[in-house]
């Protein structure tokens, strides 16, 4: 990964910009129930352990090339992104198959409530982080 970042430094012109954007595993994703009036959180979703480890490796690679003086941190931020589903079963199935997330949500509403709203629309709301770095 550090090798790739050194290559990025090579192909960037002086004062060029590197953008690093990826899901933010430091923040829990949310399972949301979407209604006509808006949305409410009905559960939280962890990032899979292996993906959290990968994210830490990426963070360390960026920190290393900054330490080496190849890049300088300019600006960073976070925004939220929703992946919508037609119903609860779609969301549950998605979690079972998706590699990045833990395979089950941690529900904050009971099973009876979930049964009542299971045919409504749902979404996974997750954080995306980004950082802009200047080539030095």
């Amino acid at each position: 990964m550090v090798d790739a970042l050194r290559e990025v430094h090579r192909v960037l012109a002086p004062r060029g910009v590197l953008v690093d954007a990826r899901p933010d595993s430091r923040v829990l994703a949310g399972a949301e129930h979407l209604t006509g009036r808006g949305h409410r959180r009905v559960g939280t979703i962890n990032t899979a352990r292996v993906e959290r480890a990968n994210d830490r490796i990426s963070d360390r690679a960026i920190a290393r090339v900054v330490r080496e003086g190849l890049f300088e941190r300019r600006r960073h931020g976070r925004f939220w992104h929703r992946v919508p589903f037609d119903d609860l079963s779609g969301l549950v199935q998605y979690l079972r198959e998706h590699l990045r997330f833990a395979h089950r949500a941690r529900w904050s509403v009971d099973a009876a409530m979930r049964r009542r709203i299971k045919n409504d629309r749902f979404a996974i709301r997750r954080a995306v982080r980004f950082e802009l770095l200047d080539r030095r």
């Binding site: 960037l12 060029g16 990826r22 929703r82 919508p84 590699l99 979404a123």
Partner: protein
């Protein structure tokens, strides 16, 4: 961002988890990074471009966009999408990030979106 971005139905289990359909649109991502001015008139490299979602979203603003990905089927898909969109300033290529097939100083902006 408090609005659902594009309702895509049961996309979560109809397409692979790595699909760009599950990601924010290029316009949304670019908007958060600073807007079109970040790439306007610039030579842009989208590293790990996948099916070209982001590269094609940058094309209307950038001078040129290069997309690189190690997955040949995804690059084929990106090329098809580029042809369909009529973008003439985008080139896609199969390759690895560890040995970039470009000369030194070839780009003004390099994007690693959901890549690292």
């Amino acid at each position: 961002m408090n609005k659902v971005v594009g309702h895509v139905g049961r996309v979560g289990w109809q397409v692979p988890a790595v699909s760009s359909a599950l990601r924010p649109s290029a316009a949304v991502e670019l908007g958060h990074w600073g807007g079109p001015r970040l790439v306007r008139g610039k030579r842009v490299l989208d590293l790990g471009c996948g099916d070209g979602r982001l590269a094609l979203g940058m094309a209307p603003y950038a001078k040129s966009v290069a997309g690189l990905d190690p997955d040949p089927p995804l690059i084929a898909s990106a090329r098809r999408r580029a042809r369909a969109s009529g973008a003439r300033n985008v080139r896609f290529q199969v390759g690895a990030a560890q040995t970039l097939p470009y000369p030194s100083g070839a780009f003004d902006v390099v994007i690693l979106s959901w890549t690292l």
